[in-house]
C-alpha cells in the first residue's frame, strides 16, 4: 500500500462480502473498479461502483455511512483484514484512495462479531453497543436542577483525559479487530469519561458493574491485552481506558 499522490486515477479489483440477510450464507464477489480518482474517499469509490451496478441492473452493495467526515461512527468495514483500512486513526469515510496503488486487490468485509449480526452485505446491527450505554453509560441528571457550570471546578488535566475517552464514536472497530470480539475499549472509554469527572462519581460503582454485566450478556468477549483495538481505533482511544475500567470494576467489587 504505497502513497501514489502523483497518480490521478487507478484501477482496482474488489472482493466484497455479499450477504442478502442475517440468516443467509454470504460470499465474496469480485468487482472491477476502474478509473478511480485518488482524491476520492473509499466510500466515494464504492458509490461509483454502485452506480455502475445499478445501471447494469445488478444489486448495489449495501453499506452504512452518514456524516462522511469521521465523526458519526456509522461507517466501517474490514479492508484487507483491517478495521477501517490501512491508515492509522482514520474512519473508512476518511480513507482516501491515494493510499492504494494501481491494480491493487482490495478485500472488503463487514464487522464480524457474535454481538453484531449482519443486516445486509457490509451493514451490521450494532445495537448491542446502545444496550451497554442504556445499562449505565449516563449521569442521572434530569433537566432543570443543574448548579452553575462553574460550581465545581476540576483540574484541566482530568477534563482533557475525560475528553480523550469521550471522543469514542461507537463505530465498533475495536470489537471487529479484537480476536475475542471484546468491547472493553468501548466500555472502558465510557466508564473512564465519567469516572474522571466529579459529576460522574456518585454513580461510578453502579455504572461500571451494570455496563460490564450488560457487555457480557450481549456476547462480547473478554480482553486478553491483544491491543488490536487501540491500534485500529479511528479515534486512537488508548487502552489505558481498559486499565481504568478494570480498576473501577475491582474497586466496585470491594464496596
Amino acid at each position: 500500500m504505497s502513497e501514489s499522490k502523483d497518480k490521478k486515477a487507478i484501477n482496482l479489483t474488489l472482493k466484497v462480502w455479499r450477504q442478502i440477510g442475517p440468516d443467509v450464507k454470504g460470499s465474496l464477489e469480485t468487482y472491477h473498479a476502474g478509473d478511480i480518482s485518488t482524491d476520492m474517499s473509499f466510500l466515494e469509490m464504492l458509490d461509483v461502483v454502485n452506480e455502475g451496478l445499478i445501471i447494469e441492473g445488478k444489486e448495489p452493495i449495501a453499506f452504512d455511512h452518514d456524516c462522511r467526515e469521521g465523526i458519526c461512527g456509522m461507517c466501517g468495514a474490514m479492508v484487507n483484514g483491517r478495521a477501517h483500512g490501512p491508515e492509522k486513526g482514520t474512519t473508512l469515510c476518511q480513507l482516501h484512495m491515494r493510499h492504494f496503488s494501481d491494480n491493487d486487490t482490495i478485500v472488503i468485509e463487514p464487522w464480524k462479531s457474535r454481538a453484531f449480526k449482519i443486516i445486509k452485505d457490509l451493514a451490521v446491527d450494532r445495537s448491542a453497543l446502545d444496550l451497554i450505554i442504556q445499562a449505565g453509560g449516563y449521569i442521572s441528571a434530569n433537566a432543570g436542577g443543574a448548579p452553575d457550570g462553574n460550581a465545581i471546578p476540576f483540574p484541566q488535566e482530568s477534563a482533557e483525559k475525560a475528553m480523550d475517552a469521550a471522543a469514542c464514536i461507537g463505530c465498533g472497530a475495536c470489537v471487529a479487530s479484537c480476536p475475542n470480539a471484546s468491547a472493553m475499549l468501548f466500555v472502558g472509554a465510557k466508564v473512564s469519561h465519567f469516572a474522571l469527572l466529579p459529576q460522574g462519581r456518585p454513580e461510578a460503582v453502579k455504572r461500571v458493574l451494570a455496563m460490564v454485566k450488560k457487555m457480557d450478556e450481549c456476547g462480547f468477549g473478554n480482553c486478553t491485552n491483544e491491543t488490536e483495538c487501540e491500534a485500529e481505533c479511528p479515534k486512537e482511544i488508548s487502552i489505558t481506558n481498559i486499565a481504568r475500567l478494570n480498576r473501577e470494576y475491582l474497586k466496585a467489587g470491594f464496596l
Partner: protein, 637 residues
Amino acid sequence: MQLDSKVPDGPLSEKWDQHLFDLKLINPANKRKFEIVVVGTGLAGGAASATLAELGYNVKTFCIQDSPRRAHSIAAQGGINAAKNYSNDGDSIRRLFYDTIKGGDYRAREANVYRLAQISNNIIDQCVAQGVPFAREYGGLLANRSFGGAQVSRTFYARGQTGQQLLLGAYSALSRQIAAGKVKMFTRRDMLDLIIVNGKARGIVTRNLVNGNIESHAADAVVLATGGYGNVFYLSTNAMASNVTAAYSAYRKGAAFANPCYTQIHPTCVPVHGTYQSKLTLMSESLRNDGRVWVPKDSGDKRPPGQIPESERDYYLENKYPSFGNLVPRDVASRNAKLQCDMGKGAGETGLAVYLDFEDAIKRDGRDVIAKKYGNLFQMYEKITADNPYEAPMMIYPAMHYAMGGLWVDYNLMSTIPGLFVLGEANFSDHGANRLGASALMQGLADGYFIIPYTIGGYLAGTELEKIDVDDSAFKETADTVRSQIKKMLSISGRRTVDDFHRELGKIMWEYCGMSRTDEGLAKAKDLIVELKGEFRENALVPGSGAEFNQNLEKAKRVADFIEFGELMIIDALARKESCGGHFNADYQTEENEARRDDENYSHVSAWEYAGEGKEPVFHKESLAFENVELTQRSYK
C-alpha cells in the same frame, strides 16, 4: 390559514417567565396518560425525548441511523454560545439577544431570540451536570473563546467536537429513559407521512429501513426534530441521510413552511475536487480566529502560495472590514470569497478556493499553541487533501451548511397544525436570515431541554383529544398512500440513477439559488426544476424492492422530495425582493456590494401553504415588529 405567533404581552425580558406561569400544567400522575412521538435524535430531538420522559410522558422516538447517537448534530465542531459572561468582557443576555437579532439581519422574531439568550445559560449548566467535558482553564473553570463574528468570548467548546459531546450528553440522557421504559426507541426508521385526525397531528407513518415494513404510530402530539434541508444542494456539509422528507410531508399536510430561501453557506470548507464527490467537509470557523484569509492581488496568478510575496497578497477581509477582519459573519465571508474567485483570483486547480493562512499565527504563538487549538482540524484537512496546513496555507471555499428556514412555528414551537411541534434546525424561528456561529447547538438544546417540555404541556392540558387507534381509517389510508408511492417509484424503471438526479438538482440550486441570486436566474432555475421533476417521474432507476433493506429506495424518496422542495425555495427567493443575510440577490445590493434590505416592504416572515400538486403555494405573512432594537444596516467595517 392564520399565523398567530402567540408572543406573550409584556416587556421583552419578562415574556417567557410570564408565559411559563400562564401555561396550563398537567399533574404528574396524568402525564403518563399521554403518548408523544418525537422524530429525530439530534440535539433537539434527543434532548426533547429525554426531558419529556423525565417528566413522565410516554415517548416514542424515531431516527434514521442505526443508533440515536449518530444524528448529524454530532458533526458540529466549533462550540455553543451562552451569555454567562464568565470572561468578564461585557456579555449579557441582552447582548447575546442583540447580536443574534443583528446577525440574523433583523428577520427573526424578537421574543423567541430573547428567550433563547435567556435559556443559553441553563444549557451550559445542564450539560456540565451530564458530564460534557467542556474545555477548562488551569484553575478548573470553564474556558471560553470568541467565535464567528462575536466581539465577546462566550463560546463554550469541547475541542473541535462540541456537537459530538453535546449530542452524546443528550444521547446518554435518552438512553437512561429508554432503560427506564419511558422512551421506546425506533432506529432505522424513515418518517414518510404525518397523520391528521380532526385537524390535529395524531401520529406518523414510518418505513422500517431494515425490512421495508410500513408502520403507523398514534400519538397525542408529534414533535419533529428532523434537521435542515441543506442536501437540496447535493453537495453540502450535511450528512448523507439528512433530508427534508419528514418536514415536507408535514408541509403537504398543511404545516406552513417559512423562509425556505434562507440558507447559510459556510465560508470555511474543503473545496470541491471532482464529480463523484459526495460531500463537503467543514473546517470549523474557529480557524478564522488565527488564520488569515487572502488571495493573490493579481487575477490569474497561479504561483504556489509560498512564492507569492507579502506585497502581492490581498488580505481582502482585513482590508475591507478593518474592525471585524477575518471574523466577519459567515454570509459576508462566503460572499467575499465568491467575489474574489469570480474576479479570477481563486487558488488551486479549479480556481474555486481562497487561502487560509496560519503562518503568522505559528510565528506569533508557536506551533505547539496552534496545534493545541486546531490540531485535529489540521489533521482532518491533511487527510482529505494530503496537504499540511502547518507548512502551506489551507485552501477553503464556501459550502452549503445550515438552513435558517424551516416549518413555521409560534412561540410555543407549534406549527400551523395543532399538535405538531417543530424543534431545532427543522423550524425557522430564531436565526432570521443568517445564523451566527455556535448558535445552532444553543437553539437545538434550548428547544429540547427547556422549551418543548413546558409548551407541550400547555397544549395537551388545553386540548380535547379524542381516543384514536392505528386501526382507524386515517392511519390506514395514509399508510396505503405511502405504499402506493413506493410502488410507483420502484416501477419507473428508467435509465438514470437517483444520485445523478440529485447531482443535477444540486447544480441548479447552487448556480441559481446559492450564494448570489438574481431574479432572472431564479426564474430560469424554476423552469429547470419543473423539467427535472418531470424527468425523475419517467426516467429514475430505483433498483430492488420495497420489502427489504434498500438504500437506493430511501434515497429516491428523499431526492424526489428535494426536487419539489427546491421549487419552493426558488418561489420564496423570487418573492423576497431584497437581500438579507443568507439570501443575497444581486439585483438588490448597495454600491459596496453589501446586502440591501428593504425593511419597509420585507420585514416579515414568508410562510407558504401547500395548495396541491402542481399548484403555486399560497403566501402568508407574519409581520416582524422590532420594539427593542433599532434596525440598522449591518456593518462590520
